[in-house]
Amino acid sequence: MKLQHYLGLLVVGIGIAVLITFFSPLASSEPDGLEKVAENEGFIQEAEDAPYEVIADYVLPWVDNEDVGTILGGIIGVLIVAAITLIAAVVLWRLRGAQRPTSSGGGPGQP
């Protein structure tokens, strides 16, 4: 596996995701689906606050400007998610031989 063969795809693809986060301050702040239903039907107060906060509401806490904090929070999230998924995919690809069917003939048997 040579991820560098796919550097173009990775840079452009993750770059598009980072670009989207630049527009995140424009996102609607209206209550969304489940939140609106919970408000209308009177069970929103059942929601409990998280036991800890890292980047709550996607806003980096120590950045004064909320728009900048949201964009930076988004970029951090994009990079973490991309890294975790890539690591998982690389591991699955590296270990793939172990469970490959030995022959391309007949269909795979039921496990």
Partner: protein
């Protein structure tokens, strides 16, 4: 009982379908973790058997895109917003099993780092947005794509329908979890969730079609192996 401070309610975020802690009971949360765990375990096993080299970077890119897209809440009718889930898009482009892994990374990071969706509710959220959305999206897409020999645009109808049904079925799963938790009776939660997400699903469908069209136009090679990948 503790008084509810109205001001504190405004700080509670319960995005489109991310269940916060408190909405699901212990047993429902536990069953959510079991169902999600079994499904993700199967997805890992299947992906391990079928993964192609080109899937590796594509999975990372899809997860990154879906995380970013989920941040973009768009307004729908009646002072409500919605955002993309992305399960159908991931399933269309990666197949359902690799899609579940990518979606689980997104939903997991949202809960653990961004406090979007509860920790106890993480199993239920993974079940709704990764397992249900990816499977429904894939099944609907493959059902429609059979007719793509009629005209190439059928694949976009298929993508739209897959996205819409994936969002609705995930919303229905969420309603059932709320009802089983005695948070909101099914007769109340189900029509409300289905109604709101019928509108959100249109946005989901349009974004999904645009993303499928973009990948088709720029990297058709990534699409070639998609549909037959899963079925034996």
């Amino acid at each position: 009982m503790a008084m509810i401070d109205p001001a504190s309610l405004e700080s509670i975020e319960a995005p489109a379908m991310h269940i916060p802690d408190g909405f699901v009971s212990g047993p429902v949360a536990g069953v959510g973790f079991v169902l999600a765990g079994v499904a993700i375990g199967f997805a890992v096993w299947r992906t391990n058997r079928t993964i192609g080299e080109r899937f590796v970077p594509f999975m990372g890119v899809m997860a990154a895109f879906i995380f970013a897209a989920q941040m973009m809440n768009f307004p729908v009718a009646g002072g409500t917003s919605g955002h993309m889930v992305g399960g159908a898009l991931a399933a269309i482009l990666l197949g359902p099993w690799a899609a579940m892994i990518a979606m689980t990374a997104v939903v997991g990071v949202q809960a653990l780092v961004f406090q979007d969706g509860g920790l106890a509710a993480l199993g239920a959220n993974v079940f709704n947005m990764s397992v249900v959305a990816c499977l429904v999206g894939y099944v609907v897409y493959t059902a429609f794509i059979r007719f793509s020999h009629i005209a190439p645009w059928v694949r976009y109808v298929a993508a739209f329908a897959a996205a819409w049904f994936a969002v609705e079925l995930a919303a229905i799963a969420c309603s059932i979890e709320l009802a089983l938790s005695d948070t909101s009776p099914l007769t109340v939660a189900l029509p409300a969730m289905v109604g709101v997400h019928a509108a959100i699903g249109v946005g989901e469908g349009l974004i999904t079609v645009a993303a499928v069209a973009f990948v088709t136009a720029t990297r058709p090679d990534l699409l070639v192996a998609q549909v037959p990948v899963m079925e034996d």
